[in-house]
Symmetry: C3
Subunit: 273 residues, 3 copies
């Protein structure tokens, strides 16, 4: 059950090394702490091998990549792979610039990722070498909806199989697949898109879930996605008149802080295809 | 009317490229989302041309400049200018260090800015090559008050005309001029100075407003300044016993999230000189 | 009395130069503003001398160090020392990587620090050249508790004397010593460890307290530590059902914003050994 995956994070306190963007990094750290995990940030190439060695997993997010941090990503990724740590790639803005697309593709070539998490546009870029990324949000035309669900499920399964990794595509409907099974998840609120970094937060969270559930990785990713979405629902239910996206950000992280396995089991809305 | 400028942001969802400091960048992103805009951050010289090309405007803030991001500012600025995008300069700390002053001055020399927004000390540095910046806050002796208003209005008009740009000087009284007209704005609360980055947030917001109101740029800047100040007033009115500057930060962004054109029209306090 | 140290921060509005990590930098800025101080951030080697010259003190935090910011730390540190400014070192993650340990040790060799603040593991690394840092949190086996208090007090006094600096070790029980006296402080809440950056915030705050109390530095450091811990207690008392670590973060900073000297005097829990 998904709830057990969350409980395992709280029990095991996974230490996660994050090379992530400076826009949402504080929220990533607080979400990791809310879930029961523990964050470390380090992107300097000379520092990352030591840091990743004391961690249980690595979260690579290219949201504000630069030439130095790109070196750090490759160095940390190779070391984490050597140590058998779970590694997640969040290809923020792949498709929006040549550097982002190339960096994400090269990272995939050189490093065996455990999970790749992005919006449909970013994942399409990685899968097809195309896609029309509008900044860091999924292009609306490419959104996963009930109308496009069948083809989207086919797509994510194929890409996961081809890339030999777990792929999580998040949006109005979230898809999580290892190439064989596909979780179709309907938690979350549209207003989460009005907060910066809910995707980045989910990537940090997902890394912690996978580290804490080594024998159950696909379910762990699905549990992390449901946790974030359910927290968005719980957080929204606590909004009061006059509250907006800044307070909503706090309430989502608070909801993760307070969530237990039973709540997740009851609130998770998914089917497996 | 100013309210229409805000409604246009919500309708047009302007995508804004921000090269901004890592201190307040998260709030800048959330303020842009609160207003109905959409933020992207990228400062790597090899990345910025592609990113700025898919955006509608560029916000350059030198708050934590370094040699690499300075290169990014020039590269992005030239590209945005070539594409005819609105470009804003926030010369954080101009006057406080040689590097900041020189960078701001060189940026003005090479790039045609649509708007320059800063406190009186920073703007004086750019205008006169002098000023006594105390960190990133306006020197009190140079504050715009009722006593100094006439000369300050004269100053901002002259500088706007000379620099051929819209200039926004923000403080207890805000001035927005294109060299011809000058908005004298009295929204806001003194407690906003106890939050880091309300100026940086306003710069992001102003860029979005100008992108969404291409035929009405002066009014758009004034509308952004009134929106931020009015949000400061609304946010303060929601403060409860025991709340302080951290909660106030959230309430201001929340107030922008919830503001509509009518509220802005009713709450904006300004005269045109 | 400790309360006077806080009142002096509010009166003197110390300007603090921070070279700190990008994870918690926004909270460091808002905590400084909450206390009555004023923050500036700058890490570019060409910028830091000018910036530190207009400030009253320097806060060096190696949490996300890189080769460029390390240069900035040394350059700023030498300049601040030359000007006689108080300088604080927060050796985040010393012991967790070679680069962090070496950087912290070299900084101590070259720059005379007024205060060094870290967890027991980091301080032990600096003192003994050993320790088992688990990321940025103190190793549990090395925690300062009632059982280990005598030896810990001995240790902090010896290290402070040897390093000729004030040393603050923070954890469940906080120790502040100049080598002669040792404050044993029992403010705070264990839940503060579930927020990222309460240590970083305390380092910024401590720098402001020392700048504002030049003739009373040991007491100033103890006052800053008590302020942070007491704010954690007050913030926790304001938590409502459903609140979590993100809201708690805001409430702690809010509590500092609202704290006066009398509240600190009444709430501070310490003995001097």
């Amino acid at each position: 059950m998904l709830g057990e995956c969350l409980e395992n994070v709280r029990k095991n306190v996974p230490l996660v090394h994050n090379i992530t963007n400076y826009v949402t990094v504080n929220d990533v750290a607080n979400v990791l702490l809310a879930s029961g995990g523990s964050p470390i940030m380090s992107d300097e190439p000379e520092d990352v091998e030591d840091i990743t060695s004391i961690c249980g997993g690595l979260n690579i997010n290219i949201g504000t990549l630069n030439q130095q941090t790109i070196k750090g990503m490759f160095t940390a990724g190779r070391k984490a792979a050597e140590l058998g740590h779970p590694i997640l790639l969040d290809p923020v803005g792949a498709g929006a610039s040549k550097l982002r697309t190339e960096t994400a593709v090269k990272l995939m070539d050189e490093i065996k990722f455990t999970v790749i998490r992005g919006n449909i546009s970013e994942i399409k870029t990685l899968a097809l070498g195309s896609g029309t990324t509008k900044g860091v949000d999924a292009d609306v035309a490419d959104a996963v909806s009930d109308e496009t669900l069948d083809s989207a499920v086919r797509f994510v399964k194929e890409f996961a199989k081809k890339a030999d990794t777990i792929v999580a595509i998040t949006g109005a409907i979230d898809l999580v697949s290892d190439g064989d099974k596909c979780y179709v998840i309907r938690n979350g609120r549209p207003e989460m898109g009005r907060i910066t970094g809910t995707g980045c937060q989910l990537s940090g969270l997902t890394t912690a879930f996978v580290v804490a559930n080594p024998d159950n990785k696909l379910e762990a990713v699905a549990a992390a996605v449901c946790t974030m979405g359910l927290a968005g629902e719980i957080g929204w239910s606590r909004m009061q008149e006059g509250d907006g996206n800044s307070t909503y950000r706090n309430r989502i992280i608070d909801a993760i802080f307070n969530m237990d396995g039973e709540t997740l089991n009851k609130g998770a809305k998914y089917e497996i295809r």
